[in-house]
Symmetry: C2
Subunit: 384 residues, 2 copies
């Protein structure tokens, strides 16, 4: 279901031959209306891929009729020819669906610095356009996978009659700046582009933006939210934001759970920070400590590595007034050893790190993963 | 030789029983004068270890008679008791050498969050004081090793009659903020504390501060420079700075070459930056990309990961005006693929990444390592 859970949407996922594996690698999602409002959030990486440069122009007027996504190549750092490939892909979609190319978002994911095969893309678009269906959401979710091991989908249905759903791909280069990876969200609620934009930014800020699996920000991150209005229901603003945020959070958790090579899903909860920003900065610093992440892989509750990472930030705290608990065991109280580290059980996949800064009353949780042999293996052999 | 290469210094390295391996774990370096001027640079991590808190007080007057260093425990986040252990260690040295405890620097390295055994430290200080010799520099260098596989020493002798030498330990948590790891430098040149301080800061800024092996800043980093004046020669200021910087650079390169689990030594040279700071920021961003580092481990010239990391910085550059060369092969010119990546040979241990920002005429080189299975293994099992 996912992107086709809401009424007013059709999708397809086909094998265009971009992936050497022969698996599905091109997805198409069409908004059949009656509305075609949309909002997007893109990577804040300054080295943006060609499909991001294209889509930034498309979203200018808040109107999107379709979105085409490919795996098998990022189309990033491919110069003018790469941009032409993106443009031509949008034109192919426009021609097949009878819409304007300027209303077609394009997303790509895969290796940076290699040209995509336009002939394969064009043929794939033609096949996908013919396969569009309200039942093919799963095919689309499969087509955007790279090193993901499973498709990622989420849906929320509101009792008043509208639905919001979505699909995502993640796996590596998983540290979004303002968006993450490729995510397509759809709703049949009646909403304008401005309202969608505000809701999407509010939702991504506390979901995808709090995911930092490997500290590496992508050049292609795109989150798109399309509204068809097909339910005929204008939703309560708060209810819509809540549902949208729920879908984003569920997708973010699926991204975390399927991150490259990970053997632990780590939630770093920072409490009693002076500001929410401080809490995010501290949580992110810990999430980017390779030493901390390797220790968790080894089931080693090495809390000194947590504090060493906290100490690199400029957040408000007294370095000798911090408490740390790991999976419920308070191993450090006010900068001194508390419970013995041997009491901590790190064998479950889920790990909870609680950092109490004693500096205020704001909180934030960053989701990350451990650093494993499989991560190193997968990322030392990805391009070959 | 190392710390005893310059005249006016004695050293010792003994096994105090702090390391479970039974190897040397306590080093003592004594300045026999006639001068006892000194300068230090400490970690900028806000979570500072007790020996750093102590040594910051000691250096206040620029007078240091001796420095005692232990491996087998960082004495960090060990509270008031940990600080008392540091203080008592300095007192033990003072008593044995007939100097003031307030002139004794203390350094510790090892696991964070565990108390050191004061009785072992005191007995070790007594043994080391009895073993002090102008020939025992190597023993001292061995005693400060943790996961280092070999001691690190460097010496420069000036024709005018003075010498500067030093020892270092590194291995992990190797991303200094203003200093790195434990480094003791000695000279018999006639210099006052103020001149030493200026020379030391100038030298560390372009050597240890440009080393970023694993992105993790230590809580215990200390670089100390002691001057005995025993040569009787007041050096030319520029010549002294040059020699000191050379010694620091050689030690930094030894730290890089022996970094935990590394199989490649990577020099990231950023040229034509608008400012030196921009060059450092860009080089450091690349040095902290796990994806880039894992690719180098896999001998994969994945230059897209270089640019993806560059794009996360706020340095001055046109994202589509950057060139990248790897080991002499220009794989990217102005944001487009140039030479085929297959031409790049990454089998040698030394790797050179050249990033041309085309934004000015400043340059900087960051030294880092690849991300390997051995790094993950070593750091998932360190505490156990």
């Amino acid at each position: 279901m996912s992107v086709t859970a809401a009424s007013g949407f059709e999708a397809a996922g086909v094998a265009a031959g971009l992936k050497s594996s022969g698996k599905r690698d091109l997805a198409l999602v069409r908004n059949t209306g009656p509305l075609n409002a949309a909002a997007t959030v893109f990577t804040t990486n300054r080295c943006k891929a060609n499909p991001v440069l294209w889509s930034e122009q498309v979203i200018g007027d808040g109107v999107v009729s379709a979105i085409v996504l490919n795996s098998g190549g990022a189309n990033c750092y491919t110069g003018a020819r790469g941009f032409q490939t993106t443009h031509a892909t949008a034109e192919a979609v426009a021609e097949k669906l009878g819409v304007s190319a300027g209303d077609v978002l394009v997303c790509s994911t895969g290796l940076i610095g290699e040209q995509l095969d336009l002939a394969k893309l064009t043929a794939g678009v033609e096949e996908a356009a013919g396969a569009l269906s309200a039942d093919a959401g799963l095919h689309a979710a499969e087509a955007i996978m790279t090193t993901d091991t499973r498709p990622k989908e989420a849906v929320r249905r509101d009792p008043s009659g509208w639905t919001v759903g979505g699909m995502a791909k993640g796996a590596g280069m998983l540290a979004p700046g303002l968006a993450t990876m490729l995510v397509v969200l759809t709703t049949d609620a009646v909403l304008d582009a401005e309202t969608l934009d505000a809701a999407l930014r509010a939702a991504t800020r506390v979901t995808f933006d709090r995911l930092d699996s490997d500290g590496c920000m992508s050049t292609n991150d795109t989150v798109a939210l399309l509204a068809s209005g097909a339910s005929g229901v204008a939703p309560d603003d708060a209810a819509f934001r809540l549902a949208l945020t729920d879908v984003c959070r569920e997708l973010a958790e699926q991204l975390q759970a399927d991150a490259e090579g990970a053997s632990h899903d780590i939630a770093i909860e920072v409490v009693n920070a002076r500001s929410e920003e401080d809490a995010v900065v501290v949580g992110r610093a810990v999430s980017r400590s390779n030493l901390f992440k390797a220790a968790i892989f080894g089931n080693d509750p090495n809390w000194g590595r947590v504090l060493a990472a906290v100490g690199t930030t400029d957040a408000a705290f007294d370095p000798y007034g911090i408490d740390v608990a790991i999976n419920g065991v308070q191993v450090c109280t006010k900068g001194e050893p508390d419970q013995p580290r041997d009491l901590v059980d790190l064998t479950p996949r889920a790990v909870h790190i609680l950092i109490d800064l004693h500096a205020g009353d704001e909180t934030a949780t960053i989701l990350t993963n451990d650093l494993t042999h499989d991560y190193v293996h997968e990322n030392s052999a990805y391009a070959s």
